[in-house]
């Protein structure tokens, strides 16, 4: 599976490489600007998907390193952001596959909020715990589809799935999330 992800990644890289002959690597100021614009959002995504700040840090670094190793013909902010989220998702799924089942469960289940926490903090912990009950692939898929607005074809490429399976898997993930929200009293009425 990790090999498949690596193949997809190399395909993505070669797609970009083939996009234009004058494709170039990002310069340091371009990278700094991109990091300033999207670093926080990407970290937030990785933190919510992995449920672990240290993992989010590692994956953030890994994603930007991969981005800096790729030549781009474009400097379009939206395209670079979409690419960044794709490689971050890929890295998160790779990491999840490498981890043992026990580690996965631990990482996906943040602890309960401290007793003296504010309402906002309690709600944040509750959200993280609810989201952590989904499978990593479901979390990535839901985020890419409903937060980043990524197309089904791109989600399929990122996760190594068939494009036709994505709507069905998304449907199931939404159902599962709706069920979890209902169970926690947060569901639609």
């Amino acid at each position: 599976m990790a090999e498949h992800a690596a193949t997809i990644r190399s395909q993505v890289v070669s797609e970009h490489a083939a996009a234009a002959s004058e494709a170039t690597l990002l310069s340091e100021p371009e990278f700094q600007n991109l990091y300033r614009l999207h670093g926080r959002a990407l970290w937030g995504y990785l933190y919510k998907v992995t449920g672990n700040a240290a993992d989010a840090d590692d994956l953030l670094q890994d994603s930007f390193c991969r981005l800096l190793a790729t030549k781009f013909a474009t400097r379009d902010d939206g395209q670079l952001r979409a690419y960044l989220f794709r490689i971050a998702s890929n890295a998160a799924v790779d990491q999840w596959r490498r981890k043992s089942r026990a580690d996965r469960h631990a990482a996906a289940s943040p602890p309960e909020a401290p007793a003296d926490a504010s309402n906002a903090t309690v709600m944040r912990y509750d959200m993280a715990r609810t989201f952590g009950q989904l499978k990593p692939q479901e979390r990535v898929m839901l985020w890419l589809a409903h937060v980043e607005g990524t197309e089904h074809r791109e989600i399929a490429e990122t996760l190594g799935l068939k494009a036709t399976s994505v709507p069905v898997l998304l449907f199931r993930a939404r159902r599962k999330l709706a069920g979890l929200l209902t169970k926690r009293g947060l569901g639609p009425g």
Binding site: Q32, L68, A69, M123, F171, L181
Partner: protein
């Protein structure tokens, strides 16, 4: 009720994902369709969670990421540059083994002769022959012996280099 997909769900979900869940058409459909209500609820919750600021956390230093990326690129360039040498090492080992096989095939009769001479009877006969004839051993046996030693050393060196890498 929730295990059946509604035909309008993709468009309702797309509207909710785009922040149009309060559109009257969407609201009217969602009120009547529990399946779409659950889906819209999940999508809106996802958006709310995404907009919720995470705990304050210092991001990794971008300068460190930049230099790490440069280092990784340099290593990758070095690995690519060294790839033909790596391939040659493997080819060298393969050529050594092929030469050994060819040599053994070519000197098969000499090999059997030398191997048989390693028995006590053979060694005694060889010793008698060399003493009485006053000459050196069979030249083909010597070629075989030195050839085998040379090839063996070559292969061992190749294997040693591969293992040490």
């Amino acid at each position: 009720m929730l295990d059946r997909i509604c035909n309008t769900e993709p468009s309702v979900v797309a509207a909710a994902a785009a922040g149009h869940e309060t559109d009257p058409v969407v609201v009217a459909h969602v009120a009547a369709c529990p399946s779409c209500r659950a889906a819209v609820g999940a999508v809106c919750w996802m958006r709310r969670m995404a907009n919720d600021p995470a705990e304050p956390h210092a991001l990794p230093n971008p300068d460190v990421i930049w230099w790490k990326a440069q280092l990784l690129r340099r290593w990758e360039a070095e690995r690519r540059a060294a790839a033909p040498i790596e391939r040659m090492h493997k080819a060298e080992l393969f050529a050594g083994l092929a030469s050994l096989a060819g040599f053994v095939g070519w000197q098969w009769s000499g090999l059997t002769k030398v191997l048989s001479s390693f028995s006590p009877v053979g060694l005694a006969t060889w010793s008698t022959q060399t003493t009485t004839a006053g000459s050196a051993a069979d030249p083909s046996s010597l070629v075989f012996l030195f050839g085998s030693i040379f090839l063996g050393v070559m292969i061992l060196a190749g294997v040693h280099r591969m293992l040490s890498e």
